[in-house]
Point group: C2
Chain length 203, copies 2
């Protein structure tokens, strides 16, 4: 029932409890999902009392929102790199789809928090803007294939949705998209993205 983390006998924590809590929370979400996350267990894992986190975060949701924000930033960084590997918009979208799946596999906690924690974005301005920056990075790519704004949005949405579905199936081991199938699933995502993008280009 107890965590395997050593408790500091008293008083002072090492320099950066704030970040230690964020790390512990991420680990906890990895194991139990966003809904299994509790401040109490996070405190235990960081080796502090349950009251300590309240000096660093207003409440449970605020800590979670901070993780979600960093999740969107990590996404933006990964997708920016994926897209930078080619000049061809179809290949850029394929790369994005692949990176999306990889992100979900390598950072399952961040992935779950961004999409499945039910955070109220109107309460956390930074979270909302971090999410919008991800879209802002990708829309110009879609726009190269679909100059009309609505069409570009539709294209990006469908590519992202396809990648999202594969990422979820991979994560849940559904449909036999099991454990070590990351590379295969990335390829499926890339192939699907190409099919969607080309249908548009050909139309």
């Amino acid at each position: 029932m107890n965590s395997p983390v050593k408790r500091r006998p008293t008083g002072q924590h090492h320099g950066d409890l704030r970040n230690a809590l964020l790390r512990a929370a991420l680990e906890l979400v990895t194991e139990r999902g966003p809904h299994g996350f509790t401040l109490a267990e996070t405190s235990r894992r960081a080796g502090v009392s349950v009251a300590a986190p309240y000096k660093h975060f207003a409440d449970r949701e605020t800590l979670l929102a901070e993780l979600a924000t960093s999740g969107y930033r990590e996404q933006r960084s990964r997708f920016a790199e994926a897209v930078s590997g080619s000049d061809e918009p179809v290949e850029q979208l394929a790369s994005f789809a692949s990176a999306y799946v990889r992100f979900a596999a390598e950072e399952p906690a961040l992935f779950d928090i961004t999409f499945n924690a039910g955070l109220d974005k109107s309460r956390f301005a930074e979270l909302a803007s971090a999410g919008e920056e991800v879209a802002a990075l990708l829309l110009p790519v879609a726009r190269e294939l679909a100059p009309e704004a609505d069409d570009a949005f539709d294209l990006l949405l469908r590519v992202a949705a396809a990648a999202h579905g594969l990422a979820v199936f991979l994560r849940q081991g559904l449909f036999g998209v099991g454990g070590g199938a990351l590379t295969e699933t990335e390829e499926k995502a890339a192939r699907t993205a190409r099919a969607i993008a080309r249908e548009r280009a050909g139309a």
Copy 2:
């Protein structure tokens, strides 16, 4: 804080508490998601004590698993009808994708429970087999486009994943896939399914 449901003053519930509990649970999941579901609140809504459900269900998870099973059965029924509307396999997959999105929109609780409740399928044999029957219904359709078993599986997986992603985005209002956009989202799903299926047919 109290439920709007009238309590029966004492003793006997009407004939079918078991089904009344299932209905109340479904309603509760619709409002709060699978993780917000509790036996206690379900009991309150059905107008019985918190102990009553244990005469009908072994525990909380068993009730949830029963709902999930009925969710898979509803899926199979809907998808069977969708697929029956055409002889053309590409159109059948497009119809399936559309029905998938519609199911998620019209039965959000069942949708969430089947995919997001984290049920242990090894504990509930009927749940596992109900899920397999959905796949068994659709695989022959994919097989008409991809005679090789692995290819058919891959095709179905990618179509289902695309529909799943759109369904999730619709449900969460993400990417501006907001409230009344059901018909549009169904069309997106159908179009994406066609793009995936045709890439295969053309290859």
